[in-house]
């Protein structure tokens, strides 16, 4: 091969869309980069339409392939029929491009953009490529060369004025009609205006085989099927990365060389982006390091008022050293600033995440977990070898997180603080629905397919099920054969950008010069175009501002206790390691307690019998799909109960697994184990962690498993042990829970358990005031509270407030809980306010006074009557309703004259509701009743006599045949235990746990799914304190429930 031919076989692609140009591009950025590298391209530009969302992924692949990646974007203007490709040659040009894209995106609604030709003035350093033909083909009615030139000449002149010397005419030969004409037009235009020519290929996919998918996404975009899409779809499949030899045949040498020249002139790489910390956190004249140090020591004085122990000082110094080496001072200062604000505003918060459980975070008040209490090592969470930023998530009260977010916006300005994006991708269901529609399949057929697939089946994966169903539905059009292929291809394709739950990025300069910003769906919110993985790749720091319902409930409880005791009461006033709290948890009495209130957790509590804080850390982490699927639960419990010994192959392994009796329960242990037992380097172990986080989505762990096994066997571990560890890691998958998170959660478990144990009135009152949250409905919480001896008082027009509150009881030291108006369905927030403001000190004396003072709207009045809140002034709810309806219409001027006499004359007494009707009305209006439980009433009426209550059930023996009945409060089918249904029934004495095995469930599907009141014949299965009824026969008793009010 001669030198000349080698030279001509170089090629740089300057116009290429990835699937981040949603529903146009048909290949992932990394597919494009990999393919371009394989074909021997010199450079590739990713030019998604007004977006840089896919560029970081492309960068990762480009780095690995050593391919030059150009950053650019394609835009179509709103005011002129022009489409341009913009490339960023330098960091400065990149900043302009980000600003340009931001401008367009901020003008448009979510997912759209709006740019005007004048905006090009923003771009003083960018390269502009004009694919002339794509515009002409859209607008021109002529096919004569002269006419086409006449049409395009004014545009060329205008563009030349806007961006002289940085403009090229781009020829794109895609083997469509008029190829020669295109060439002639561009030649002539170039000759007349002096604008140079270059070539490009409007690439939409990495290989030609993606054409069906490209057509399908086009159909999805245009809202029709491929049969109807017609000329919306392209006429051929040339928009792929074509071989260099083909391209050099299509274009002139000059054009190819110009492309090369442009690529060479682009010296910007995303790796240049350096994160600069906001400077205002450090006072002038002090270094960040010394500022952090002084803050930490001030905090330490507060934490250890009687003097900071030597060990702590040593640890602080160690951590400060590490932070300094990695340059993370600003990060800790940023979080400290946010947490300080929250503390000042009395917003409860709690940090968690890899770096949150350091002594430094404890001293700064980011976490309340004393790291010495659980001996967590800082290095476990932040390490020099892994060049990743530390990760601290901060949970705030869910009702007040917005205040914190607004503070961040205020402090750093909208242009410097933005939320991270979350890339929403196609998942199986959405893929089947959209691709199916694009293939012209009946919407309804698709719905049925989707409904009928058992997504959690472990025996038959959904793809197999789909295939089978397609084969069974014989009269399907032949096009359906493409469904599975295309669905598989489109799964994982991005659909749109959404906002991350709370990931904030804060920058020193304008954010929009670092990354484009666009509007989120929520008004007033903006998101950057990158997600958290992108940020991690580029080494940019983010802070997670998350919301947690339990923190709201805890803060409210603490406030109530403070009010009631007359002194302020905080988390620090709660004594640690209180045996009564552990006693309560060991009994499985945990309804309302953070994290451990679910049925599975309750059953674990009674078996694990937590007796110290670290047991709670394990409790939080062990009842999760990861450890359950990995088969870690039973070995751990057996060892804990002393039924089998914990064995370690060597000292190193004992160090890793010692604290969990030889069973890996935390994510960190798995990583460490890979290093200690299989000789993984820190980097490889970190890759394993990432692979674990996403393996269910993207691929498998086979390679890692092999490496683990060989590594372990080489190091003298027996193959059985290696297999077991591998299996556990696979089971772990994305569900593994890090110890650092578990420790933070465990603290909240302890706090909430203490509050429940010692201050049940305040605790339940606050839980009810923080709804919706947690696992149980208000009705279940109220019943549980009453069982615990809490006196609950009904909603009353003259005694209730908006929220539930504590009410002193004359005869008792303990207060009662008075239900608040917030429990009433359909009562407006404004109505409640008006009501509370207008209420006289002594209360409303009658309905007329209520009407004239509170001026509630009719809907609110009816809601009050329905909740029986008017009983003290109107009598029973039927009567109240009759009376207020008259008042409502009286307030209309038409009736004003006849008002009082009429009412007096027609004061009619309606009959009182029956007890059953009262109960039903209570449930309808407030979701709970303080009257008898429906089951008690039914039994009283002579029904369900053969069924035993939950209380009697608790005394039954293993294997005993029983018959129980109750309201169905929970139906669950966890992903774990294959196909087993768990149900909870509630009667007047407590809850009954049911286990329904698949055969039973299948045979009695009807009552299983439809009963609200269920009668069950089954066998008692008990294990220590845990008692379940294994269901045999299920009987739907809804009829009884429906007839309760007659």
């Amino acid at each position: 091969m001669s030198t000349a031919s080698i030279k001509t076989s170089r090629y740089c692609e300057l116009h290429c869309l990835s699937n981040f140009t949603f529903l146009r591009g048909a290949s992932h950025p990394e597919e494009l980069v990999n393919r371009a590298a394989a074909l021997g391209y010199q450079a590739l530009a990713i030019t998604d339409e007004c977006s840089l969302a896919g560029i970081v992924r492309a960068q990762v692949a480009a780095r690995a392939n050593r391919l030059k990646l150009l950053v650019g974007s394609e835009v179509t203007f709103s005011d002129v029929p022009l489409k341009l490709v913009i490339l960023a040659p330098t960091r400065r040009a990149y900043g302009e491009l980000c600003q340009f894209v931001t401008t367009g995106r901020r003008r448009g609604g979510k997912g759209s953009y709006q740019l005007f030709l004048q905006d090009l003035t923003l771009l003083q350093n960018c390269f502009i490529l004009w694919p002339v033909w794509s515009d002409l083909a859209r607008i021109s009615h002529e096919s004569q060369v002269a006419a086409l030139i006449a049409t395009s000449l004014p545009w060329a002149e205008q563009l030349k004025c806007l961006c002289p010397d940085r403009l090229w005419l781009m020829e794109e030969q895609l083997l469509q009609a008029h190829g020669q004409t295109q060439h002639q037009v561009i030649e002539a235009l170039s000759a007349q205006t002096g604008i140079p020519q270059v070539c490009g290929n409007d690439v939409h996919m990495h290989e030609a085989g993606r054409q069906p998918l490209q057509d399908a996404v086009t159909a999805i975009r245009t809202g029709c099927s491929v049969f109807q899409a017609g000329s919306h779809c392209y006429s051929n499949r040339e928009r792929y990365l074509r071989p260099v030899t083909t391209l050099t045949r299509l274009y002139s040498r000059q054009q190819v060389c110009t492309a090369q020249f442009i690529a060479d002139s682009c010296v910007f790489s995303l790796d240049e982006l350096r994160y600069e910390y906001p400077p205002e956190l450090v006072p002038a004249g002090i270094t960040a390091q010394s500022h952090l140090r002084s803050k930490v020591y001030t905090g330490a004085q507060r934490r250890y008022p009687s003097g900071v122990p030597v060990a702590i000082t040593r640890q602080i110094e160690h951590e400060l050293q590490l932070i300094h080496e990695l340059g993370y001072e600003h990060y800790f200062l940023t979080i400290d600033d946010i947490v300080t604000y929250a503390r000042d505003q009395k917003i409860l918060c709690q940090g968690r995440g890899s770096a949150a459980n350091s002594v430094i975070c404890y001293c700064l008040g980011i976490t309340e977990v004393d790291p010495m209490q659980i001996h967590l090592l800082f290095e476990r969470f932040i390490s020099k070898e892994r060049h990743e930023p530390p990760d601290i998530d901060v949970d705030f009260e869910h009702e007040r997180r917005e205040e914190v977010i607004q503070y961040i916006y205020r402090k750093y300005g909208r242009e410097r603080a933005a939320l991270t994006a979350a890339v929403i991708t196609y998942r199986a269901r959405s893929a089947i629905r959209d691709i199916g529609k694009a293939l012209g399949l009946n919407q309804h057929t698709l719905d049925q397919l989707i409904h009928k697939i058992d997504w959690r089946s472990q025996t038959e994966p959904w793809r197999v099920q789909l295939q089978r169903m397609l084969e069974q539905r014989s009269p399907l059009p032949p096009v359906a054969k493409h469904l599975i292929t295309l669905v598989n291809q489109i799964i994982g394709f991005p659909r749109h950008l959404s906002q991350h739950t709370g990931g904030f990025v804060i920058s020193a300069g304008p954010m929009s010069e670092l990354v484009p910003i666009e509007n989120a769906a929520m008004a007033g919110r903006t998101v950057i175009q990158w997600d958290k993985n992108d940020l991690e790749t580029l080494g940019l720091l983010k802070v997670d501002i998350l919301a947690l319902g339990m923190l709201s409930a805890i803060r409210k409880t603490l406030d109530l206790i403070g009010q009631h005791r007359g002194t302020s009461f905080g988390m620090q006033n709660i004594p640690r390691e209180d045996p009564a709290v552990y006693q309560m948890l060991q009994e499985g009495d945990s309804i309302g307690v953070f994290q451990v209130e679910s049925r599975a957790q309750i059953s674990m509590l009674t078996r694990l019998k937590p007796a110290c804080f670290y047991d709670l850390v394990i409790e939080v982490a062990i009842v999760r799909p990861g450890p359950i699927q990995g088969g870690m639960v039973h070995p751990y419990l057996r060892r804990r109960q002393g039924l089998e010994p914990a064995q370690y192959s060597n000292q190193a392994i004992q160090e890793v697994l010692g604290r969990t009796l030889g069973v890996p329960i935390f994510q960190e242990q798995v990583i460490k184990l890979a290093m200690v037992a299989a000789g993984f380097t820190a980097g490889a172990a970190d890759q394993l962690r990432r692979a674990m986080a996403t393996w269910s989505k993207h691929g498998d762990l086979t390679a890692f498993q092999q490496q683990l096994k060989t590594g372990m066997i080489e190091r003298g571990h027996c193959p059985g042990f290696a297999d077991q560890i591998c299996q556990q890691i696979t089971g772990f998958g994305e569900y593994g829970f890090p110890e650092s998170h578990a420790a933070s959660f465990a603290l909240l478990v302890y706090i909430s358990a203490w509050l429940k144990c010692h201050e049940p009135e305040a605790f339940f009152c606050s839980l009810l005031n923080s709804q919706p949250m947690g696992f149980y409905s208000p009705s279940q919480l109220v019943q549980q509270a009453r069982r615990q001896g809490v006196n609950i008082l009904p909603i009353d027009i003259n005694h209730s407030d908006k929220d539930h509150r504590l009410e002193a009881q004359g005869h008792s030291l303990r207060p009662a809980v008075r239900l608040g108006f917030r429990q009433i369905r359909g009562l407006s927030w404004r109505g409640m306010q008006q009501l509370c403001q207008a209420r006289p000190e002594r209360g409303f004396k009658d309905l007329a006074e209520l009407v004239s003072l509170a001026r509630l709207n009719p809907v609110d009045m009816e809601a009050l009557a329905a909740a029986n809140a008017l009983e003290s002034i109107c009598g029973h709810r039927y009567q109240a309703r009759w009376d207020i309806l008259a008042e409502n219409h009286c307030s209309a001027p038409l009736f004003s004259g006849i008002r009082t006499q009429e009412i007096a004359a027609e004061r009619r007494s309606l009959s009182k509701p029956t007890e059953g009707a009262e109960i039903k009305a209570d449930y309808v209006s407030t979701g709970l009743t303080l009257a008898r439980h429906p089951l008690a009433l039914l039994r009283n009426q002579g029904h369900l006599q053969h069924c035993i209550t939950a209380r009697i059930l608790s005394h039954c023996k293993q294997g005993q045949l029983v018959c129980v009945a109750g309201l169905v409060t929970c139906r669950q089918r966890p992903a774990s235990a294959a196909g087993v249904n768990f149900m909870t029934l509630e009667d007047e004495t407590g809850n009954i746990n049911l286990i329904v095995f698949p055969a039973t469930a299948h045979a009695q599907r009807k009552p299983l799914l439809t009963a609200r009141l269920l009668e069950v014949h089954g066998l008692v299965e008990r294990q220590g304190k845990t008692l379940n009824v294994v269901a045999g026969r299920l009987i739907n008793m809804n009829k009884l429930l429906n007839g309760i009010d007659t």
Binding site: L136, A137, S140, S143, L175, Q176, A177, H178, G179, Q180, E207, A208, R210, Q211, T222, C224, V226, F227, Q228, A229, G230, S231, H232, C233, S235, N236, R237, L439, G440, L441, H444, D447, Q448, H451, K452, P475, P477, P478, V479, H482, E862, A865, A866, R877, Y878, R881, W882, L885, A886, H889, C890, F895, E902, E906, R908, L910, A917, R1005, K1006, L1009
Partner: protein, 515 residues
């Protein structure tokens, strides 16, 4: 006046059930809520219930066939029933004619007809049998006001299985007794008012009627009082008399897609029976029917059926339709694109004996072109007279089609971006079948334009087109480019398409001539 109300609460499901060949669980849901509204006995057996979400219903009964509610179809059937009812009563009125309504019912004036049948029960008996034979379930009641009989009927058991005969009577006191026992919750009273009444413990109409009307008006508004007055006959309840339209049009949807001729004929026959009844009732016939087959995707297929003389008998029409449908083209289409619905219509009503006018007779000379076409079609068959239309498809042979004169295709083309430059590169004269030529005969002038698309309908195309000189003529030629076949489609797919030259990897064809 005395009234009978026929309520058809299961009409949507009845329509489907009588059109299906085999019994299977069926449910119909409302499109906006995706909740099951109607279902057949088999579905009930499986535990499906009205009000369930589609998802829950599918979980309970995986073999459940579900279909979305079609008001259009119900309304057509209801109109059909009204036309039928005209043979039992001089005055018929519809309920459920408002767009989107999910209710269907008929009022029949009962007073005047009972003499003819020897009593109201005998009259009802005949009517009920006739209705049952049509595969329609109903519930019925008599009353002295339209509202009374409707509310009574709505709370009767479903006939034919239920008896419900107690409220077929003209005994005013008896009916009033029944009326007082009705549950307020199952009447037509506005939902909000119903809820309010229930929240005051008022459950039966009796309880409600005992309350003073003034107090009720004050609390619950005048519409309720107006309704109660209409119920009792103290205020008027005007009903609109049903009037049959001057044309016949019925559409039948099927739950199974139709892929066989016999199934299709089964459906068509049902429509023809209705047509015969309709024509008989009007003492007229027709010589022109239009049968439209609706497909899941793509435009509908229309067949025009012309008879030699004015006809009304179902058998005669069926024979003609069978002949049309037995054509291979239609059969093939049936296999490719299953039918999901059938419409039968005619607006060419004629009295039964009619003189056929002569073609081109002097009296008809000034006929317009449209009329001429109609005449030609009548004589030659509608297939013989057609017009051309554009289709939006990149494949040349699929970018045009024949359509019946005066109609237009329902393709998506109108909303597509018009490829303005494309037309210019294509010849007006396109050959029906490309003709093979030798490469040496061609002098290529411009190209290639690669057309590679159509993977979805089993007729993919993969060709390179050129403008070429063929002797003294300008031709539009293409070369099959099988060597370019990528991984998505097998080479075989492309070869078979290009006119049978599968054995040769690359071949040249003339596809059209430029002027």
């Amino acid at each position: 006046m005395h009234w009978l109300y026929l309520d058809f609460p299961t009409l949507p499901i009845d329509i489907l059930e009588r059109n299906t060949l085999q019994a299977e669980p069926i449910a119909i849901y409302l499109p906006d809520t995706e909740r099951i509204q109607w279902l057949n006995a088999l579905a009930i057996q499986q535990g499906v219930q009205a009000g369930q979400s589609l998802h829950a219903a599918n979980c309970l009964c995986p073999q459940l066939r579900t279909q979305v509610y079609s008001w259009q179809q119900c309304r057509q059937t209801l109109h059909g029933l009204a036309q039928w009812a005209e043979s039992y009563s001089a005055f018929v009125s519809l309920h459920g004619d408002l767009a989107g309504s999910t209710e269907s019912g008929l009022w029949l004036e009962a007073g005047s007809m009972r003499q003819l049948f020897g009593g109201i029960r005998e009259w009802y008996q005949r009517l009920a049998e006739d209705l049952t034979q049509q595969g329609i379930r109903f519930r019925a009641a008599c009353g002295h006001t339209p509202l009374a009989c409707r509310w009574l009927a709505m709370q009767q058991p479903l006939a034919p299985s239920g008896s419900g005969a107690e409220v077929i009577s003209d005994d005013r006191h008896l009916l009033q007794r029944h009326l007082r026992q009705l549950a307020v919750s199952k009447t037509d009273i506005a939902p909000l008012t119903r809820r309010r009444l229930s929240s005051m413990g008022i459950k039966t109409l009796g309880q409600l009627l005992d309350l003073p009307l003034g107090a009720l008006a004050q609390r619950l508004g005048t519409p309720l009082v107006q309704q109660l007055n209409q119920l009792q006959g103290t205020s008027a309840h005007p009903l609109k008399a049903y009037q049959a339209p001057p044309y016949f049009e019925r559409r039948l949807e099927v739950i199974d897609e139709i892929t066989t001729l016999s199934h299709l004929l089964f459906i068509v026959k049902r429509l023809l029976v209705e047509l015969m009844r309709w024509l008989q009732h009007r003492a007229c016939g027709t010589d022109q029917l239009c049968l439209t087959l609706h497909h899941q995707t793509g435009p509908s297929t229309r067949c025009k059926i012309l008879t030699a003389k004015v006809e009304y008998r179902e058998q005669e029409f069926l024979e003609l339709i069978r002949l049309q449908l037995e054509k291979p083209a239609i059969q093939q289409q049936l296999a490719m694109q299953p039918v999901c619905g059938v419409t039968l219509s005619t607006d060419q009503l004629q009295t039964r004996i009619v003189q056929q006018p002569e073609l081109f007779s002097p009296a008809e000379a000034q006929h317009t072109g449209v009329q001429l076409v109609a005449r030609l079609q009548a004589r030659l068959g509608s297939q013989a007279v057609q017009q051309l239309d554009n289709l939006d498809d990149h494949r040349p042979e699929k970018s045009w089609c024949f359509i019946p004169v005066g109609s237009h295709t329902h393709s998506h083309a109108s909303t597509s971006p018009q490829p303005l430059l494309r037309q210019a590169s294509r010849p007006l004269w396109l050959l029906q079948l490309p003709q093979a030529v030798h490469r040496d005969q061609l002098q290529l002038l411009e190209g290639p334009e690669r057309i590679c698309t159509g993977w979805w309908d089993s007729q993919p195309v993969m060709r390179d087109y050129y403008r070429a000189r063929f002797g003294s003529l300008y031709a539009w030629v293409f070369r099959t480019t099988t060597h370019l076949a990528g991984p998505a489609m097998s080479e075989h797919d492309y070869c078979t398409l290009t006119t049978g030259s599968a054995t040769q990897p690359s071949h040249w064809f003339v596809h059209g001539w430029f002027a």
